[in-house]
Symmetry: D2
Subunit: 346 residues, 4 copies
């Protein structure tokens, strides 16, 4: 089916494979009048690029984003914004092993079962490279949020069970994984400040439901907490409830176990979510698997892969969160008749 | 916005408030030819009803479901199936306290911020009663899955940190909560057996992304794991990857850390998910909060509430899972041209 | 598929068959704060009811609409409004002829080809009775439009080639059709006054495109003109173009060949559309057809049918137009960043 | 809003302005396994290009389509197909007149009212150039239809009131229009052969409703007939009904006034539709209008415009029809449980 679009009013459609000519995204429904140029976007896509650090692949991609439409005289026009990122490093490789084999922890087998065959080069459509397009679109959502006084930011908070606040221990752990031809899981947290209360819907379009869909649409995400998340399952109501109080003339909460969302609707507190990434499935160590001829085989996955997904994925979490929030804010404008009549000045 | 519909092909739309005349659901896109009567549905809605047990409210609701359309000569016709459940216990009560106050842990404040006012009786649209309509619709999805040989079942697995397999300790904990005018969190697990490989989509419509949206659309859900979930964030690739192997002539996996979904597509292993519920926010103990006049107040929430949400919510988890799976299975029929041509017999 | 919903923000879902227990509609996305009671709705559904006049069936339906949800203290709450109309006249009849035969001009054969069987009683889901649910929903859209100063009205303008302004000639024609056991086509025009300029979208969601979908979703509609419509195909640009001019300080047009819409966007002139209905396909005269056993047969269609569809369908045209306009007005609120920032008061 | 997508399963998203860097389209939901290369597409886009004939602009565009994604080893992979057409003729021009003025018959005024400003170069997003992207997408839909034995073709049938079968009279009329600095309306007919019965839905997603939306989404379309269309409004039931009969063992109709669709569902007869285009609004003769400063002005529209829209638009009608049909065929696969169970081989 048509599964490459996300959002209702502010809607993005990504396209492209890891080793095709290019990847890209069409952003439809962006309000007219937002100043935008390519540097607004590259400051986000640069955060996703391999940086040569210990947690990153050694491959170099420039990921230059070109704006093809939707901007006139430096501002969005309200029409679709088409962004393209050329794939540079398309040298022909020997893909024979990966072409026929199902890498453990990857979608290869599912792809063949679904489509009958697949573009196996570099993971094809399921490559993490697809997320560069999301980040490019999310950069625009971020700029819109900022214009409304809303700050959305995500960061790596743990590698395995080591807090990211201890960079030396993290580096040691990562190096050990590399030496062992292994990889390690990671944790990313996202916080949103300045979100107004009243955003989201009470039933299926709960704000947290859409955030959850956004997070699990990122490859390798296996767990999500909103606020205290899974820890709430062992808490008592008397401590888990956040008491409302008045602060500077505004309704506020004394604690924030809920992560800023109650019954699917924002309550004005910071939105907090924690995203759990599995370890990179591409590891150099030998693994047992099967090939498409249904023979059991052993395989070693070659190539340079990030041993930790969360490092580069934090900006993807941030951008997907921003996309959900912008859409919810736009949708929310129609919730009250009095405000609609004001808008149309009757 | 229009947030009361769920699904693309097999689409449900719920309606109704806790203390209005009725609640209900319209199921649109159900294939024609499924034998269906009210008993198919009541076996699921009965599991959600208060049962008078220790974890349940003492209120009695019969929750009889009436089929109003879409069935002819005992079978679905392919047209919308409208189901209605009358609200029986609508005696007039004194709602003055709840009408003006924002209960901690509830959507009351968000509702007022969003809509300007709210139907405060029994939680209105945000009442867990709305899930009875989902369960009624999910019962049909379950019958479709069964006809395809797929079994989807969920159960309460923990109350607080006590495993549900120790019912005596659970009962003791729950009784202690009641005595303390408190409530406790809970955990529900759902398992799907017999799901074919190749179902789901690689990008935004990942099978796990849609399951995540479904789960977080259930009130009080704060965390979700697919497969090993948040534990994968501290695992290594060499142990977290599930090796493919051949079993009875079919591709299978030696372990199932992934929970049956890789890259958003089912791989034929059991789908496993764990849902974390916060403790019931309505507790009898005194709480601090504010009212709609923005005055700080104390409130005691009267009424008989379940101290543990997961007990009655397990069937909601199961039914929402079934709804996601049916929709994905139907959508998947168009993935390959050869199968489409077979279908249309050319 | 799920084909019983219409609209994006202001979304309706109809359900029910002609001879089932009831028909109904769920309106989701109606803004909160609109005063609404059943009399607001009945003034529209009454216009669609058989009135015993010469152009109408002799059957009597009361079509009483009951509001089941979404209203609190006399106002819409922003949650789904569920409306139900019980089917009263469900006496058991001998449907054996219609059950097995494909009535010319009806969907019977298509239904069997699509679903394998059908609820044949009174046309089942394809009965014009379904439009009573649309009218009930459209009544709410009309009330919203009126609150914004927009008037939308439709009326029968011709029966066959006789203008409705000549009621005597119309009556004579209709009586002749009845005597001949025949039926006759008709024309309905709809006019919208007070629509602001700038509503609609430039590409697929053109205002006229959505109006066209709405009109052709009404049974028996075979033609549509926007403004001059098909006559524009023989006109010259110099006469067909509507010159812009200033009038009372506002941009206006000297003529209105375009019918108020240019490039899919309203221009502030009256919206004008003309809808062409085929003659009622159910006629008493003998017709050749086939049955579901693929035998050629002759059939006479019994029962009392309107000989002219447009008389009772005018209010359906009006209500479907209103639904399109309300949705477009709500969607349009997000088109400009400056107005969004005003709305959120930053 | 997000108005640049069309379709549910087979979904296209177009982007780009007349004088931006490029235009393009993303086709999402195309089944895997369709052989496709750029020549499959260019045979359709070539029909839309200016050909230098009497009815066409003199401007030359090569409109070369480049496939950027979604194809591997010569076949569609099931992932998004991204197509791009570079805009070649982007020389800087003096747009000062058009920038400030509202051309009669164009969307200029509506754009400013909606978005606050617009990309005025060559009509921006509202340029007919956008339809090149639709045609590129429609070429793929056409190839799918052909693989299923369905033929969909459209052609210009009249210029003004001259039938296209009289090319000499047409040429004389067109030349006269040019000399008069004027333009003329036109008529396009589309016929679909080989469509199976049972495709489409009974209520809002009627096959003709979606065709109507598709047709009115094409700029300059002002009228549409399905089958006999507006003429049915003056016909009698006894002659307008198409009698069913058996032909070569299949259900067929003796006549085809309905144009192959009854109650929103195909009946196996040829689908016939007639589309009415207004005359080109850009004419060289002097016109009265207003500018964005709300001053009444006179303007002459410079540049070389087609005096007849239908000539180049016939392929757009054909491609939009094909897009609707493919989507309806894919959606229809889920209508019957027995066929679903066959598909999944239980």
């Amino acid at each position: 089916m048509a599964g490459s679009s996300f959002g209702t009013i502010f809607k993005i459609t990504t396209w492209g494979e890891s080793h095709g000519k290019a990847i890209g995204v069409v952003i439809d429904g962006c309000p007219a009048g937002l100043p935008l140029d390519e540097s607004d976007i590259s400051q986000y896509t640069d955060r996703r690029r391999p940086n040569g650090g210990s947690m990153s692949t050694k491959r170099i991609e420039s990921d230059r984003v070109e704006i093809l439409s939707g901007i006139f005289e430096g501002k969005t026009t309200g029409t679709p914004i088409s962004l393209i990122i050329r794939n540079e490093d398309q040298r022909s490789k020997d893909y024979s092993q990966i072409a026929d084999s199902y890498r453990p922890g990857h979608a290869d087998y599912g792809f063949d079962a679904k489509y009958g065959f697949r573009d196996y080069r570099g993971g094809g459509r399921s490559s993490a490279r697809e997320t560069a397009a999301r980040v490019a679109a999310g950069a625009i959502a971020q700029k819109l949020l900022k214009s409304m006084g809303i700050e959305c930011s995500a960061r790596l908070t743990a590698v395995g069970d080591i807090p990211a606040s201890d960079p030396q221990a993290v580096e040691a752990l990562v190096n050990r994984c590399r030496e062992d031809q292994d990889s390690i899981g990671s944790t990313v947290e996202c916080t949103v400040k300045g979100m107004p209360a009243g955003i989201g819907d009470p039933v299926f379009e709960k704000l947290d439901a859409n955030l959850a869909k956004a997070m699990f649409s990122i490859g390798a995400v296996k767990g999500l907490d909103i606020g205290d998340g899974h820890l709430a399952a062992t808490a008592k109501g008397s401590t888990n409830n956040d008491a409302f109080r008045m602060e500077d003339g505004k309704v506020s909460t004394a604690t924030n176990h809920a992560g800023g969302i109650l019954g699917g609707i924002s309550n004005g507190s910071d939105i907090r979510l924690t995203v759990y990434f599995k370890p990179t499935p591409s590891i150099a160590a030998k693994q047992n698997t099967v090939n498409r001829f249904h023979e059991e085989i052993e395989m070693n996955i070659k190539g340079r892969h990030d041993p930790v997904i969360g490092a580069r994925a934090a900006v993807v979490v941030e951008c997907m969160t921003a996309l959900v929030l912008v859409d919810a804010l736009l949708l929310n404008m129609t919730s009250r008749l009095d405000r609609i009549l004001d808008f149309y000045q009757h």
